[in-house]
């Protein structure tokens, strides 16, 4: 996959800014910061879900010049608690049967497509929401605490699966509360504050 660089240029959300950073193709950037500092709001602005100032670029394409549904396919945001609108799991996917390898990698049985969404655990929901977004083949993934509801083993499995996406060229913008996880996955680590993002020195 040929991925254009991703750049956030002087973005202001409702609670902070200016946020400036750029991600090389296939890089993983982690963002840490205390609750309420506006990590999710920044991801929402990057996905253009909230009105915001500033501009976001994917290669030469600017967010404001890109049709909104196109942009959200290119810059896929997976919220910490994703939404479900149909009854069964498979209805939320184009073709779940073609994703069997990913299901297995995520520790989910291939027959889970028939499961009713209402009976999923929070961990199952989280992994399926990640898979749903990855299935879009977006060049950029915005991840809001992607392993928050998972036990340690499953958490590592999901991490490795996400890093496999990165190796395939996907850029990862990864919000986490787990410093050890940031150490493991990040090419560059940032601290998010009200006044902007600040890069941590290399460990």
């Amino acid at each position: 996959m040929v991925v254009p660089p991703f750049r956030c240029d002087s973005v202001f959300t409702a609670v902070g800014g200016p946020f400036n950073f750029a991600a090389a193709p296939g890089a993983c950037l982690t963002f840490m910061g205390p609750s309420g500092v506006g990590k999710s709001l920044l991801l929402r602005a990057l996905a253009d879900l909230d009105p915001h100032r500033g501009e976001v670029f994917l290669g030469a394409v600017s967010q404001s010049a890109c049709p909104p549904h196109d942009w959200r396919r290119q810059v896929a945001y997976v919220p910490a608690a994703a939404g479900w609108w149909a009854e069964t799991v498979a209805e939320h996917f184009g073709d779940l049967a073609s994703l069997t390898d990913d299901l297995v990698a995520l520790g989910l049985p291939p027959e889970c497509g028939a499961w009713p969404v209402a009976r999923l655990s929070s961990g199952e929901r989280q992994r399926l929401a990640l898979l749903r977004a990855v299935a879009l083949h977006s060049p950029v993934l915005l991840l809001d605490e992607p392993t928050a509801n998972l036990d340690a083993d499953t958490s590592l499995a999901v991490e490795n699966w996400l890093l496999a996406q990165k190796r395939a060229g996907v850029t990862l913008i990864w919000v986490t509360h787990d410093a050890a996880q940031a150490q493991r996955v990040a090419d560059r680590r940032f601290a998010l504050e009200h006044g902007g993002v600040f890069e941590a020195p290399h460990a």
């Binding site: 196109d70 939404g83 609108w85 879009l136």
Partner: protein, 269 residues
């Protein structure tokens, strides 16, 4: 004009209110706390309708175009305000009042004009004896339906926010993400109208036709009028609901196809 076959006196009205007084007695005995609100509502109704009688009589006697137009405007204004009041989370600011107001005005005036110019054709065409009561019946139903429709749409958008945004995040258009909520809002709004048409004549005798029959009109004539009114009211209601719900939906998003719940007014106190 038919002469009323029975003449109603004010004493008869007093007798009709006796049942409510009996209930007031029961309410006091069993501490139901319903006596006061029931009596206040009944007195309000009597005062409002007495005033209406005076105004209508004056309107019909003068038959002035200006007075009729003003009456129509006041009715539309009140209808818009009353509709806005019944929506738990309307759009914030003036839009919350103007969107249902415009939908009600367009649907009400179109239907009224259509009825006056093609089916009733009184002279003059704006004769208040026809225009005002017909608009009143149209607005009664339209207000209810528009309030139900907008209320349902905004409440569902608030409750289903995460699920609507999940669809936007997967690259679906706002219109597609909202489709089931749009359908639900329109269906909820039109359900009373549908039910009314289904039940009319079987269980329920519409008030207008009953009134005409009581004052001596033949059932054939009265029912013909009633059918026309029901068809006009249903048509106006469907049109108003469509305009009001689509208008509200338009304000729930922006040029970036976001879900703009920040444009809704806060909870009513």
């Amino acid at each position: 004009m038919h002469e009323p076959s029975l003449h109603l006196t004010y004493g008869d009205l007093a007798l009709a209110s006796l049942l409510l007084l009996v209930h007031a007695g029961l309410s006091i005995r069993f501490q139901l706390k319903l006596a006061r609100p029931l009596l206040i509502a009944a007195v309000r109704m009597v005062v409002q309708l007495s005033l209406l009688a005076v105004i209508l009589q004056w309107l019909f006697d003068t038959e002035s175009a200006l007075a009729t137009a003003l009456t129509v405007l006041v009715m539309l204004g009140f209808a818009a305000w009353e509709t806005w009041r019944r929506i738990a989370r309307p759009l914030a600011g003036r839009t919350g009042y103007l969107v249902p107001g415009a939908a009600i005005a367009v649907a009400g005036l179109t239907t009224l004009g259509y009825a006056l110019l093609t089916q009733l054709s009184p002279t003059p065409w704006y004769a208040p004896r026809y225009a005002v009561p017909i608009l009143g019946m149209i607005l009664g139903s339209v207000m209810n339906a528009v309030a139900l429709g907008i209320d349902n749409l905004t409440q569902n958008a608030l409750r289903e926010r995460v699920n609507i945004e999940a669809q936007l995040l997967l690259g679906r258009r706002f219109e597609d993400a909202m489709r089931t909520h749009l359908q639900r809002a329109m269906r909820t709004a039109l359900l009373p109208t549908l039910n009314l048409m289904a039940a009319t004549g079987l269980v329920m005798m519409p008030g207008m036709m009953t009134g005409q029959i009581l004052t001596g009109t033949s059932p054939h004539e009265a029912i013909k009028y009633q059918m026309m009114i029901i068809l006009l009211v249903a048509g106006a209601t469907a049109l108003a609901v469509f305009l009001a719900v689509m208008g509200t939906l338009r304000y729930l998003t922006d040029d970036r196809e976001r879900l703009r719940l920040d444009r809704l007014a806060g909870e009513r106190k």
